[in-house]
């Protein structure tokens, strides 16, 4: 087990390196003078000042050397400075990441809290009204853009009913109740697609397990339906669901880019969109790097959790 985890951890290194190379390459694909781009001052700089910038960011060195130096700095948390406000990108991202993590976690928990019971109920009542209703809602939810669900939620709960705030963010530490009230609509909009996919996976996994021999044995022993479902089947059916739940982290991060913009939540996603409009490339680069690394970490944890949950899987370790 430990050997397996260590081996997977070692495999992360080349993937992580490739990710940094791609992020670095992306920023070098931009046409134009990188020195002007990084400072963002446009034509206001003269050649002497540009030379200083080039030395500062090692732009006068060969590209592989630039990459190595950039990577070295990135590993210590130094992601350069924003060209829009000269703040350190690393510090800014740390601040914004906590907001995105808070929103993302909330969305993910809401999704799982709806999806798992709904999936179990649908599977147990296969082919009947609860199954039909849950499947219908899930199929519909997957086909709607999350941000459009958000717009409709704003229309109903913000504009018409005036129950919930539709813009802004209040830190949970400052005012828990108000913070949660601000979080409800964005979290639902962000989590709805994931909820639908988790529910469908839960339903199909449970149906598959329920058709296995050991369930028939439990039935033959005279066990009642719910003890079989909750005591025997659910645990075995959770494996593929855990995988989907892990993969949904990526979707939630990507979705945050749009949902944070829609609801005015000051997270990483909104920061990134604003940076695109301000041509603030260091911030775009930093945000992409942080988000991709977070998704990679989530996939890794999912993989490990998968082996912990299923003693049958040892992958030869």
């Amino acid at each position: 087990m430990q050997r397996y985890i260590l081996r997977r951890l070692a495999q992360l290194v080349p993937t992580l390196l490739l990710i940094t190379m791609m992020v670095f390459a992306l920023m070098h694909a931009i046409p134009g003078d990188p020195a002007r781009m990084m400072v963002g001052a446009g034509d206001a700089l003269d050649e002497a000042q540009l030379a200083v910038v080039r030395r500062e960011y090692n732009l006068d060195r060969p590209v592989p050397v630039q990459y190595a130096l950039w990577l070295g700095r990135a590993l210590t948390g130094d992601l350069g400075r924003s060209s829009a406000n000269q703040r350190r990108v690393g510090e800014e991202l740390l601040l914004r990441a906590s907001v995105t993590f808070e929103l993302g976690l909330f969305a993910w928990l809401i999704a799982a809290a709806i999806a798992i019971p709904a999936g179990v109920i649908a599977a147990v009542h296969r082919g009947r009204v609860p199954d039909f209703a849950a499947t219908l809602v899930a199929v519909g939810a997957v086909a709607m853009p999350g941000f459009w669900v958000g717009i409709m939620l704003i229309l109903v709960f913000g504009v018409h009913l005036r129950w919930l705030p539709t813009q802004g963010y209040v830190p949970l530490g400052t005012d828990l109740a108000d913070g949660l009230r601000h979080m409800v609509l964005p979290a639902i909009a962000l989590g709805i697609t994931s909820a639908a996919l988790m529910m469908r996976q839960m339903r199909s996994a449970l149906l598959e397990v329920m058709s296995l021999d050991f369930i028939r044995t439990a039935r033959a022993k005279g066990l009642a339906k719910w003890p079989i479902v909750l005591g025997h089947a659910l645990r075995n059916a959770m494996l593929p669901v855990v995988t989907v739940m892990g993969l949904e982290v990526g979707r939630i991060f990507a979705g945050a880019v749009v949902i944070e913009t829609l609801f005015g939540v000051p997270g990483m996603g909104r920061l990134m969109v604003q940076a695109v409009f301000q041509h603030d490339f260091m911030v775009v680069q930093g945000s992409v790097l942080v988000m991709a690394t977070a998704v990679l970490a989530a996939n890794f944890i999912t993989d490990i959790l998968y082996t912990v949950l299923d003693p049958r899987i040892r992958y030869g370790a």
Binding site: V139, A143, W148, L155, F253, V257, V273, V276, V288
Partner: protein
Amino acid sequence: MIALPTPDSVAGHLLRTPRAIFGIAVILLVLLGAIFAEHLIPYDTEDMDFDALLGGITAAHPFGTDQLGRDMLSRLILGARVAMEVSIGAVGLGVAIGVPLGLATAIIGGWFDDVTMRVMDAVVVFPSLLVAVALAAALGNSLGTVILAIGIANVPWLARIVRGQALGLRELDFVAAAEVAGTTRLRIMTHHILPNCLAPVIVQTTLGMGYAVLTEAALGFIGVGIQPPTPTWGNMLQAAFPLLEQHPLLSVVPGVAIFMLVLAFNLLGDALRDILDPRMRGIQ
């Protein structure tokens, strides 16, 4: 392993499946609208009707008008063109790169397989929306950038599917028979393995087209997608959002259009999966 039934039997199954019929009908409708947009639109998309600013549903404007008095139906039809261009372009790009790559890794194996799959692992970590936003920053926002970003995100999934299928097929007797008969590796790949990989690729591309429509809409909404004056369903929603309280119809109509088209792709994809992979029938 999924074997590909004959096209006739697939078509027969599809036409007996209500969700597939719904899917095909909606996709055809949108496709026809996209192709013949100029002949179908009742008004030029930039024509402003100053007597009908933010108009409701009327005989002259079945989906109302926007804040500049432009006809929503006409803009919706031209938006369908962008939706179709993006979904076909992005998925086409994904297939064009992903399928040969998946086949090559399975056939060549060794270090080439290891390196390619590690690169795919790294690409998967970037959600397509994130790539699209970053590419928009780097290359500017255009139809090509949007297609490129969504297309790249499709590559790893297709490559993995084809690789998995091809690895399984390679062990089968008919491939061994072809090898014994002296068929070249390239010919085995293109004539024996590729046709048998197609079923899951078809399913994945159908679902991928729906996903492309969703991603384009999200990009348009945050303003980094295809820019006005070209109407897209995403940038129509962006323009409508400040007027949500005043005129919600503007926000509802493009959303319903996106929903219908994505639903159509998803239902068709699910139906195809059921037909092509009988083991999954009734479970998914």
